[in-house]
Symmetry: C2
Subunit: 165 residues, 2 copies
DNA sequence: TAATATTTATTTGTATACAAATTATTTGTG
DNA sequence: CACAAATAATTTGTATACAAATAAATATTA
């Protein structure tokens, strides 16, 4: 009984997370319509803005993203003239990223970027409710940060991909 | 003061959500290593398995995904011979999706798919803790489901994309 | 010093994910 | 019946996101 109840709640939790994920994705699209930049792009220039200068791997770290992902985002921001890349003389492997004047102006003109529905919804909660949400998410984060469990590989029989006609 | 505290908690919440999404994404990769299918692909065949037969738009609905996204996932599953598509005679616009024998065997051979770290972590929580998590996520979902707020467009000045060299 | 290993960023390839446009079909209206 | 509107799936184009391979530079070790 207990087991069944827990399993059901767990399924609900998975679905909740999916819904939240979809919704945040939508917000990114909405942000794009309003500002011309996607959520991750805005997040990136705001993170850069707080540092005056930062290297790619450090930026990836602050954004919890893979460097390869950040490179793509930087390409688009550079294409729009909002950032510049400079290889340092000290160590020619590292690339320092800086905002251009246009980039700085952009950050100022969309201050903190209204994160949309979620932000305003959260701010309307009482401090108690907000803390409960925070605590619950922290709980999930700590579960996910926990040591790898490495369940035994199941590896069902699976035909190779034949391509579609 | 209150405002500052709330804003800080809100930032924390955003970061928590990002961490959770990254971690779930990783789990999808891990699931792929174990079963040969990605998280969304597993999710899809399991959803199909519960219905014996389902059309594309209905599947998209159940998965909270855009039909275009589901088409891509179905192409890959079809390429592996796990599903088949059939246009119905009744209405030749609709496509019915079914599992092949291989697909059914696959679903059975990885029953419910161990969702990994998050699942086992959640199951180790007390019922009370788990309910708190559930309630909090529901709170976020209902915020995000709420009527569109449509904040005034900010539309900062933004140069066109010049392409990268 | 020469060979090896490591580090930093980028490229390549694959898989989501969505909007907008398209195709084929069906339904509704004049 | 014919033409318009609506519907279902797909295609096209763009943007994440990551792993694995690569390139270039630096550090380490023999």
């Amino acid at each position: 009984m207990q087991q069944v109840a827990n399993t059901q709640t767990m399924t609900d939790i998975f679905n909740d997370l999916r819904r939240i994920f979809q919704a945040l994705n939508e917000q990114s699209k909405q942000a794009e319509k309003m500002t011309g930049l996607t959520g991750p792009q805005l997040w990136a220039i705001q993170t850069i803005a707080r540092e005056t200068s930062i290297q790619v791997s450090a930026l990836a770290g602050k954004m919890f993203l893979h460097p390869a992902t950040v490179v793509g985002i930087l390409n688009r921001l550079e294409g729009r003239g909002l950032i510049v890349r400079n290889r340092t003389k000290r160590d020619r492997r590292v690339v320092e990223i800086e905002l251009t004047e246009a980039g700085k102006a952009f950050v100022v003109s969309s201050p903190e970027v209204p994160q949309g529905k979620l932000a305003s919804g959260l701010l309307s909660l009482s401090a108690t409710e907000m803390d409960e949400v925070h605590r619950s998410l922290q709980c999930l984060v700590s579960i996910l940060d926990a040591q790898d469990i490495k369940p035994a590989p199941i590896k069902a029989v699976l035909p190779k991909n034949n391509q579609r006609s």
